[in-house]
């Protein structure tokens, strides 16, 4: 036989939760979940998707990232230069030089496909997030700026054993 248990109306439970939360906010004994943002900064997880950094040396301007980008916010231009032959009399090898690598963060939706698709490990996620601008055009980060973000990329965690 089922024991009869009177059902507390939902709105009383709701009111109780609301008022208990108010006293939790006001009491100094409960941890404060808020970060007073411009004055104190949040500690972001190292794998957070803040901004995409570019390692210029590793990039071969293969255009895979630009093609995979759903927003088409990556602009790549490059040309080929002939290198002097490694042995005298040998054939001159061509080498890809990156002229332009821009990411338009006004368009970017932070999906991370470009980082995943890069076969040469030239793109990285950095947890930095403070790069808002007054002018929308300034959201286009050029090669030099993307290279600077590389300094903020955290060391990768070791592989799981």
């Amino acid at each position: 036989m089922k024991t009869f248990r009177p059902k507390i109306p939902g709105f009383i439970i709701g009111m109780k939760i609301v008022i208990v939360n108010m006293f939790k906010t006001l009491s100094p004994f409960h941890s404060n979940p808020n970060v007073n943002y411009p004055f104190e900064k949040e500690k972001v997880a190292p794998r957070a998707r803040g901004v995409i950094a570019l390692d210029q040396e590793a990039c071969t301007s293969c255009m895979l990232c630009a093609r995979q980008c759903p927003d088409w916010c990556i602009y790549i231009e490059g040309h080929k230069e002939l290198q002097p032959p490694s042995t005298p009399g040998g054939r001159q090898r061509s080498r890809a030089v990156l002229d332009r690598f821009d990411i338009d963060y006004a368009l970017c939706m932070y999906c991370g496909i470009c980082v995943e698709v890069c076969p040469f490990d030239a793109l990285f996620w950095s947890p930095e997030y403070e790069y808002s601008e007054f002018n929308m055009g300034d959201m286009l980060h050029n090669k030099a700026r993307l290279d600077e973000w590389l300094k903020t990329v955290p060391e990768p965690e070791g592989l799981e054993n």
Binding site: V18, M22, T25, P33
Partner: protein
């Protein structure tokens, strides 16, 4: 003449101050209930932010669209604010500290509080905007539906107190020793509070404003100082209706165990404390309830609140005759 002007100024200032205090309580209380600090940077840990808000609205441009019915559109906020302010004229702060102690105080209060319906309906009608029109019609339907339980709930009090003057009702409660909310009129008190929440169009009864479906309901086309008047008068009517509720049901200016000679000192404090407690309950209700659907809203008024208040009148009248 001068004393009339002083009284008018007092009522307007008191209602405005009440509205500002209720704004602070609503915004700060809401943020605390959601574990946020709320507005924090405008002086005194953000506690004077309504002043900044008023300044912001005053310096904004007052846009009037070309297609609107200009005089109606311009005067619509006035009805709402007048109904909220003049309601405060009959609320007694003590037996003598009352702007005007009308013989038919309850009647005046209920009549003047239904004036806001006209303001809301004309605001919606004159805006030349379908969202405004929908909001205005919903507001008219809701205000008319909830006017009835509001009045019928008060009738129970009037029967028990045998008078319609608000001072007389408080004196009767002093005579009874227990406020009416705890001596027979508890159902009327609950019905009054529900209907009053609907009258001031707050969550969960904010179907006319319903920002997710009607942008801002009847206020959609308003901006600048006219929007501010609508915004302030919502809090004004909240303050004033809570004051009326605490006068009718919670003993008003009376405090037990304190000699009644000092009523001019503790009366206003007592009334305002009771008003603030009722307002706090409204804020807590606002943040724990979702909005009612239109048909649920009408069903609640016509199928539940009105029969319950009629039953309450019947029982009160029978008990009045029998006892």
């Amino acid at each position: 003449m001068t004393d009339v002007l002083i009284k008018v100024g007092f009522v307007a200032l008191a209602a405005l101050n009440g509205a500002v205090i209720f704004t602070i309580m609503d915004v700060k209380g809401a943020s605390w209930m959601q574990r946020r600090p709320g507005p924090l940077h405008v002086g005194l840990r953000g506690f004077i932010f309504p002043l900044a808000e008023i300044l912001k609205f005053v310096q904004k441009e007052d846009i009037i669209p070309t297609d609107v019915d200009r005089p109606v559109f311009k005067w619509a906020p006035a009805y709402v604010v007048v109904s909220a302010v003049s309601l405060f004229a009959v609320v007694p702060l003590s037996p003598t500290l009352v702007v005007v102690d009308l013989e038919l105080g309850v009647f005046f209060a209920l009549a003047i509080s239904s004036l806001s319906t006209i303001g809301v309906l004309t605001a919606g009608w004159s805006s030349a905007n379908k969202y405004s029109l929908m909001g205005g019609l919903r507001a008219a339907g809701q205000l008319i539906a909830y006017e009835l339980p509001l009045i019928l709930a008060v009738v129970g009090v009037v029967i028990q107190a045998e008078t319609m003057s608000l001072v007389g009702i408080v004196e009767k409660q002093i005579e009874w020793g227990v406020p009416f909310a705890f001596s027979g009129q508890i159902v009327a008190f609950l019905i009054f509070m529900i209907a009053a929440t609907a009258e001031m169009m707050r969550v969960p009864f904010d179907m006319p404003i319903g920002e997710s479906e009607l942008t801002m309901g009847f206020m959609t086309e308003y901006s600048g100082i006219r929007f501010l008047i609508f915004y302030i008068s919502e809090y004004m009517s909240m303050f004033v209706l809570c004051a009326v509720a605490s006068t009718l049901f919670l003993g008003g200016y009376h405090l037990p165990f304190i000699p009644t000679e000092w009523v001019n000192i503790y009366g206003p404090i007592s009334l305002i404390t009771k008003t603030l407690i009722l307002g706090f309950i409204l804020v807590a209700v606002r943040w724990s309830f979702p909005r009612f659907r239109e048909d649920q809203l009408q069903n609640l008024a016509w199928k539940f609140l009105i029969p319950a208040s009629l039953l309450n009148i019947l029982i009160t009248a029978v008990l009045k005759v029998v006892l």
